[in-house]
Amino acid sequence: MTLKLFLQYFWRDFRKQKKRATLTVAAIVWGTFSILMLLAFGEGLKDQLGKNQRSLGECIIIVWPGQTSIPYKGLPRGRRIHFRPEDVELIKKSIPEIWRVGAEYSNWGVDVVNGKRVFSQHVTGEYPTYEFMRVQYAERGGRYLNDTDMEFKRRVVFLGYELNKKLFGDEPSVGQTVFIARIPFTVIGVGQNKQQMGMYGGPDVEKATMPATTYQSIFGDKYLDNLVIQPRDAETAELVKSRLYQVLGAKNQFDPADKQALSIWDTIENQKDFSKMMLGMQIFMGILGGLTLLIAGVGVANIMYVVIKERTKEIGIKMALGAKPQTIHNQFLLEALLICFSGGAIGIFISQLICDLASVVPRDPTSSMSWLGNPTISLPIGLITVVILAIIGLTAGYFPARRAARLNPAETLRYE
């Protein structure tokens, strides 16, 4: 049978049972919509969470000094380990797999003052490498600390986004002076606003940051609080960690096998776990959506059985006039597919519309809504949905169509 003729018959039948046909298609629309929305919001959430997670730093390893737990070269256990600025240079020189190294000092409850605005804040002294490792990017018109600031122990400060707001409101702050521990500092930059999923020592948006050398000369700290290391390749993280125990162990006199001498936070591992978790979540959402669509498919199959019962006479007439079983089979299979794909097309259209709307609606980056990110119907999501629709259409059509094709023409003609 030609396609045009088939469509003509289909349309005629559709109009005869408008309400029933519309409801059947609506079920598929709803199923498609559910699966797409779940997957699209899942994708948006994944992108946003990924971005939030990377706001601590991408592929970094954070190292704190610990306490020895194994006696070493006659020294007892329970010794505190300390990091000094020369350790940073040593690590950089000794481990070629490392791309960047930085370190920080930090102090809580330091007065940061702009005129009458006085706040007790978290103040850190950082290495310039933090800009890239810890995603300390400056907003337009400012900059982060650089090597010259370090070398000359300049009294310059980089303010976190929220702290800058508290100190200056909407006024421009770069080039202005703030007092930190009663010493004047020039503001050289303001950090970009960021949602930070992983953190230690408070969010970056609340910090005031100065060069590590400046910090050391003002506050006189003997030891660094922690180190931050970025390997050249995420795959070498394990190697870098074991080399770290060797290099720092030799320098600070502890056993390289003494795991408690250093306390390490490997965010690379976290990121891997995170990807796995997100994939799991997306599969879960896909299954939920798929089940909704499956129920719609059961509806289609059900309706197809009813349609075939109603049109038994028509099937009989066609068979008597020479329609082959295959022709009858194809007709009903195609009808089920047509229902599924027209419903699917409408569902995809509505979902895309909602995704577009969701990305247009303005959201405050600090509000809970912003954690949703932008729902996205990516190409794989679209393809998965179309494949599921096709499978459901074929399954929903195949069994009723097979029943229709197997009808006995002599009995069918008697059917009233």
Binding site: A320, L321, G322, A323, K324, Q326, R414
Partner: protein, 230 residues
């Protein structure tokens, strides 16, 4: 095949319906020869097996036992798709209740056998229009089946039966649902078709119809009573 060859040859045909609990023997050994170009009537009371015989003759069903040669070809064991092809090309059906597709036009109904034969749209239309013209329904082509009278519907059905110009026409109570005037018109039409060379078999219980055909056979309790061997 010569014009006087055998169109239909049934030998020892039995049909047993097995419903699981009971077995019903609808046909109990039918031997029947129908020559090409014959105009015959099969008469029998209800329950005599008329419909079963018509289904087997029309390749809508297959016998449980016995053989059926149609136009020189054994068809009693053919697969369903080949039976469909024979119905399409070689047999035209006319039913008591017309069996038109109600929401299709007269033209579309007549086109249907041509669709299953795989003819192109233009050719189908031309052939269907010709047939309707010939049968006196040229002005009703675009009418839906439901908009036609009983006599008109039966004429559309006859035009449809003739669409692929089949050698055999099978009519099951073709006048059963018609008033006597329309019924006569239909019988006249069959007569004309017979004169034009079609083999026609009318199945009926109407005692007036047999008079007009060449040959009448009677079916009772699944057996032919007389004149069967032909």
């Amino acid at each position: 095949m010569s014009s006087n060859g055998t169109m239909v040859k049934l030998s020892g045909v039995r049909k047993i319906y097995d419903t699981g609990k009971v077995k019903v023997e609808a046909l109990r050994g039918i031997d029947l020869h129908v020559r090409r170009g014959e105009f015959m009537t099969l008469v029998g009371p209800s329950g005599s097996g008329k419909s079963t015989l018509m289904n087997i003759l029309g390749c809508l069903d297959v016998p449980s036992e016995g053989t059926y040669e149609f136009d020189g070809q054994r068809v009693d064991r053919l697969p369903v798709s080949q039976l469909a092809e024979i119905r399409n090309r070689s047999i035209g059906f006319v039913f008591q209740n017309f069996n038109l597709l109600p929401y299709s036009t007269a033209l579309e109904n007549v086109e249907l056998p041509l669709v299953f034969r795989g003819l192109g749209a233009k050719e189908r239309r031309k052939r269907a229009a010709e047939l309707l013209e010939k049968i006196g329904l040229g002005d009703r082509m675009e009418h839906k089946a439901t908009e036609l009278s009983g006599g008109q519907m039966q004429r559309v059905a006859i035009a449809r039966a003739l669409a692929n110009n089949p050698p055999l026409l099978l009519a099951d109570e073709p006048t059963g649902n018609l008033d006597s005037a329309s019924g006569r018109e239909i019988v006249d039409l069959f007569e004309n078709l017979w004169k034009a060379g079609h083999t026609i078999m009318i199945i009926t219980h109407d005692p007036n119809l047999p008079m007009r055909t060449e040959r009448t056979i009677h079916l009772r309790d699944g057996r032919l009573e007389d004149g069967a061997a032909g």
